[in-house]
Amino acid sequence: MKVFIPTPLRVFAGGKDKVEVGGATIAAALDELTQTYPDLRKHLFTPEGKLRAFVNVYLNDEDVRYLPEKEATAIRDSDTLSIIPSIAGGAPVRA
Protein backbone atom coordinates (compact mmCIF):
# COMPACT_ATOMS: atom_id res chain seq x y z
CA MET A 1 0.00 0.00 0.00
CA LYS A 2 1.01 3.62 -0.42
CA VAL A 3 1.86 5.86 2.50
CA PHE A 4 1.68 9.55 1.61
CA ILE A 5 4.41 11.51 3.36
CA PRO A 6 3.63 15.14 4.29
CA THR A 7 6.00 17.92 3.32
CA PRO A 8 7.76 18.28 6.72
CA LEU A 9 8.64 14.57 6.90
CA ARG A 10 9.89 14.01 3.36
CA VAL A 11 13.45 14.92 4.29
CA PHE A 12 13.41 11.92 6.65
CA ALA A 13 11.99 9.59 3.96
CA GLY A 14 14.65 10.05 1.33
CA GLY A 15 12.84 13.06 -0.09
CA LYS A 16 9.90 10.93 -1.16
CA ASP A 17 6.28 12.09 -1.08
CA LYS A 18 5.00 8.51 -1.06
CA VAL A 19 6.39 5.17 0.02
CA GLU A 20 5.18 1.66 -0.81
CA VAL A 21 5.00 -0.59 2.25
CA GLY A 22 3.69 -4.03 3.06
CA GLY A 23 2.07 -5.28 6.22
CA ALA A 24 -1.25 -6.79 7.16
CA THR A 25 -2.34 -3.95 9.47
CA ILE A 26 -1.89 -0.21 9.83
CA ALA A 27 0.55 -0.81 12.68
CA ALA A 28 2.58 -3.22 10.57
CA ALA A 29 2.65 -0.75 7.67
CA LEU A 30 3.86 2.07 9.93
CA ASP A 31 6.41 -0.25 11.49
CA GLU A 32 7.78 -1.15 8.07
CA LEU A 33 7.86 2.54 7.15
CA THR A 34 9.94 3.44 10.21
CA GLN A 35 12.16 0.39 9.80
CA THR A 36 12.95 1.57 6.26
CA TYR A 37 13.29 5.21 7.35
CA PRO A 38 14.35 5.14 11.03
CA ASP A 39 14.60 8.95 11.25
CA LEU A 40 10.83 9.11 10.83
CA ARG A 41 10.12 7.26 14.04
CA LYS A 42 10.71 10.07 16.51
CA HIS A 43 8.62 12.43 14.40
CA LEU A 44 5.66 10.05 14.35
CA PHE A 45 5.82 8.29 17.71
CA THR A 46 6.48 9.13 21.35
CA PRO A 47 9.26 7.25 23.16
CA GLU A 48 6.47 5.04 24.48
CA GLY A 49 5.49 4.05 20.95
CA LYS A 50 2.22 6.01 20.72
CA LEU A 51 1.40 8.25 17.76
CA ARG A 52 2.29 11.84 18.69
CA ALA A 53 -0.79 13.88 19.56
CA PHE A 54 -0.39 16.24 16.60
CA VAL A 55 0.16 13.41 14.07
CA ASN A 56 -3.03 12.34 12.32
CA VAL A 57 -3.08 9.15 10.27
CA TYR A 58 -5.84 8.48 7.79
CA LEU A 59 -6.65 5.13 6.23
CA ASN A 60 -8.13 6.36 2.98
CA ASP A 61 -10.58 8.96 4.36
CA GLU A 62 -10.91 7.52 7.86
CA ASP A 63 -9.07 8.79 10.93
CA VAL A 64 -7.27 5.77 12.39
CA ARG A 65 -8.05 6.97 15.94
CA TYR A 66 -11.76 6.42 15.28
CA LEU A 67 -11.58 3.06 13.54
CA PRO A 68 -12.94 0.24 15.75
CA GLU A 69 -9.61 -1.57 15.67
CA LYS A 70 -7.44 1.54 15.35
CA GLU A 71 -3.89 0.61 14.31
CA ALA A 72 -4.82 -3.08 14.33
CA THR A 73 -7.14 -2.50 11.36
CA ALA A 74 -6.38 -4.81 8.47
CA ILE A 75 -5.34 -3.14 5.22
CA ARG A 76 -5.56 -4.01 1.52
CA ASP A 77 -3.04 -3.28 -1.20
CA SER A 78 -5.37 -0.67 -2.67
CA ASP A 79 -5.63 1.26 0.60
CA THR A 80 -3.63 4.40 1.28
CA LEU A 81 -2.31 5.90 4.49
CA SER A 82 -1.97 9.68 4.76
CA ILE A 83 0.14 11.20 7.53
CA ILE A 84 -1.12 14.71 8.35
CA PRO A 85 0.40 16.85 11.10
CA SER A 86 -2.16 19.12 12.74
CA ILE A 87 -2.54 22.74 11.69
CA ALA A 88 -4.03 25.30 14.07
CA GLY A 89 -3.25 28.60 15.75
CA GLY A 90 -4.64 32.05 16.33
CA ALA A 91 -4.07 35.56 17.54
CA PRO A 92 -3.20 36.18 21.20
CA VAL A 93 -6.09 36.59 23.59
CA ARG A 94 -6.57 40.27 24.34
CA ALA A 95 -5.94 41.24 27.95
Binding site: P6, Y58, D61, P85, S86, I87, A88, P92
Partner: protein, 148 residues
Protein backbone atom coordinates in the same frame (compact mmCIF):
# COMPACT_ATOMS: atom_id res chain seq x y z
CA UNK B 1 16.43 36.20 5.47
CA UNK B 2 14.76 33.56 3.31
CA UNK B 3 12.14 34.37 0.69
CA UNK B 4 8.71 32.92 -0.01
CA UNK B 5 7.78 33.33 -3.64
CA UNK B 6 4.12 33.50 -4.54
CA UNK B 7 1.99 34.71 -7.40
CA UNK B 8 0.07 37.98 -7.16
CA UNK B 9 -3.14 35.96 -7.47
CA UNK B 10 -2.36 33.89 -4.37
CA UNK B 11 -1.27 36.96 -2.41
CA UNK B 12 -4.53 38.77 -3.18
CA UNK B 13 -6.60 35.65 -2.57
CA UNK B 14 -5.30 35.01 0.96
CA UNK B 15 -5.90 38.65 1.86
CA UNK B 16 -9.38 38.64 0.33
CA UNK B 17 -10.24 35.49 2.26
CA UNK B 18 -9.37 37.27 5.52
CA UNK B 19 -11.63 40.18 4.62
CA UNK B 20 -14.51 37.86 3.76
CA UNK B 21 -14.38 35.96 7.06
CA UNK B 22 -13.82 39.03 9.26
CA UNK B 23 -14.33 39.28 12.24
CA UNK B 24 -13.37 35.61 12.25
CA UNK B 25 -9.99 34.11 11.35
CA UNK B 26 -9.74 32.59 7.89
CA UNK B 27 -7.40 29.71 7.09
CA UNK B 28 -6.13 27.70 4.17
CA UNK B 29 -3.21 25.94 2.54
CA UNK B 30 -0.55 27.26 0.20
CA UNK B 31 0.36 24.97 -2.68
CA UNK B 32 3.43 24.99 -4.84
CA UNK B 33 6.76 23.41 -5.63
CA UNK B 34 10.22 23.51 -4.10
CA UNK B 35 12.89 25.31 -6.13
CA UNK B 36 16.59 25.82 -5.35
CA UNK B 37 15.59 29.22 -3.96
CA UNK B 38 12.82 27.81 -1.76
CA UNK B 39 9.07 27.37 -2.08
CA UNK B 40 7.26 28.83 -5.08
CA UNK B 41 3.56 29.12 -4.21
CA UNK B 42 1.29 29.08 -7.22
CA UNK B 43 -2.07 28.15 -5.74
CA UNK B 44 -4.02 28.24 -2.51
CA UNK B 45 -6.84 26.18 -1.08
CA UNK B 46 -9.35 27.68 1.32
CA UNK B 47 -10.19 25.59 4.36
CA UNK B 48 -12.91 25.68 6.94
CA UNK B 49 -12.12 26.96 10.44
CA UNK B 50 -13.30 24.28 12.85
CA UNK B 51 -12.83 26.59 15.87
CA UNK B 52 -16.39 27.86 15.72
CA UNK B 53 -16.18 28.28 19.52
CA UNK B 54 -13.58 31.05 19.21
CA UNK B 55 -13.25 31.88 15.52
CA UNK B 56 -12.36 35.53 16.20
CA UNK B 57 -8.94 34.51 17.55
CA UNK B 58 -8.48 30.78 16.84
CA UNK B 59 -8.34 28.59 13.78
CA UNK B 60 -7.96 24.90 13.13
CA UNK B 61 -8.15 22.94 9.89
CA UNK B 62 -9.74 19.50 10.02
CA UNK B 63 -7.14 16.88 9.06
CA UNK B 64 -9.58 15.22 6.63
CA UNK B 65 -9.71 18.51 4.73
CA UNK B 66 -5.93 18.44 4.48
CA UNK B 67 -6.07 14.85 3.20
CA UNK B 68 -8.29 16.06 0.37
CA UNK B 69 -6.28 19.22 -0.28
CA UNK B 70 -3.12 17.14 -0.50
CA UNK B 71 -4.77 14.61 -2.81
CA UNK B 72 -5.90 17.35 -5.19
CA UNK B 73 -2.50 19.06 -4.99
CA UNK B 74 -0.75 15.79 -5.86
CA UNK B 75 -2.96 15.38 -8.92
CA UNK B 76 -1.74 18.83 -10.05
CA UNK B 77 1.92 18.13 -9.34
CA UNK B 78 1.92 20.44 -6.32
CA UNK B 79 2.65 20.01 -2.62
CA UNK B 80 1.52 21.85 0.51
CA UNK B 81 4.22 24.46 1.08
CA UNK B 82 2.56 26.28 3.92
CA UNK B 83 -0.59 27.68 5.40
CA UNK B 84 -2.25 31.03 5.80
CA UNK B 85 -4.60 32.55 8.32
CA UNK B 86 -5.75 35.99 9.39
CA UNK B 87 -5.63 37.99 12.61
CA UNK B 88 -8.78 40.15 12.88
CA UNK B 89 -7.86 43.50 14.45
CA UNK B 90 -4.49 42.15 15.50
CA UNK B 91 -0.96 42.44 14.05
CA UNK B 92 0.33 40.03 11.41
CA UNK B 93 2.74 38.46 13.88
CA UNK B 94 2.82 34.89 15.11
CA UNK B 95 1.49 34.25 18.58
CA UNK B 96 2.49 31.67 21.17
CA UNK B 97 -0.57 29.72 20.05
CA UNK B 98 0.55 29.88 16.43
CA UNK B 99 3.97 28.59 17.48
CA UNK B 100 2.75 25.85 19.78
CA UNK B 101 0.43 24.53 17.08
CA UNK B 102 2.96 24.76 14.23
CA UNK B 103 4.19 21.32 13.18
CA UNK B 104 4.86 21.63 9.43
CA UNK B 105 8.61 22.05 9.63
CA UNK B 106 10.12 23.46 6.45
CA UNK B 107 6.88 25.21 5.52
CA UNK B 108 5.72 28.83 5.60
CA UNK B 109 3.03 30.31 7.78
CA UNK B 110 1.51 33.43 6.23
CA UNK B 111 -0.48 35.76 8.47
CA UNK B 112 -2.61 38.72 7.35
CA UNK B 113 -3.76 41.45 9.71
CA UNK B 114 -7.34 42.44 8.94
CA UNK B 115 -8.20 45.77 10.57
CA UNK B 116 -11.87 46.72 10.68
CA UNK B 117 -12.54 44.36 7.80
CA UNK B 118 -9.69 45.52 5.54
CA UNK B 119 -6.50 43.49 4.96
CA UNK B 120 -3.46 45.51 5.92
CA UNK B 121 -0.11 43.77 6.46
CA UNK B 122 0.70 40.26 5.26
CA UNK B 123 3.79 38.62 6.73
CA UNK B 124 5.36 35.20 6.32
CA UNK B 125 7.21 33.07 8.83
CA UNK B 126 9.24 29.97 7.93
CA UNK B 127 9.07 27.13 10.45
CA UNK B 128 12.75 26.22 10.70
CA UNK B 129 14.38 23.43 12.70
CA UNK B 130 14.38 19.67 12.49
CA UNK B 131 12.28 18.61 15.49
CA UNK B 132 9.47 19.84 17.73
CA UNK B 133 12.14 20.65 20.29
CA UNK B 134 14.26 22.96 18.15
CA UNK B 135 11.62 24.47 15.86
CA UNK B 136 11.48 28.24 15.48
CA UNK B 137 9.78 30.82 13.30
CA UNK B 138 12.09 32.82 11.04
CA UNK B 139 10.66 35.94 9.43
CA UNK B 140 10.87 35.68 5.65
CA UNK B 141 10.36 38.05 2.79
CA UNK B 142 7.37 37.61 0.49
CA UNK B 143 8.41 37.94 -3.13
CA UNK B 144 5.46 38.46 -5.46
CA UNK B 145 6.42 36.70 -8.70
CA UNK B 146 7.63 39.15 -11.32
CA UNK B 147 7.27 42.17 -9.08
CA UNK B 148 10.58 42.36 -7.19
Amino acid sequence: MSTLRMTRAVYEEVRAHGEETYPHECCGALLGTVTPEGWSITSSARAGNTRTDSAHNRYSIAPIELVRIEREARARGLSIGGFYHSHPDHPAQWSQTDFAEAHWLGCSYVITAVAQGKATVTNSFFLAGTTEEDKRFDTERIDIAGES
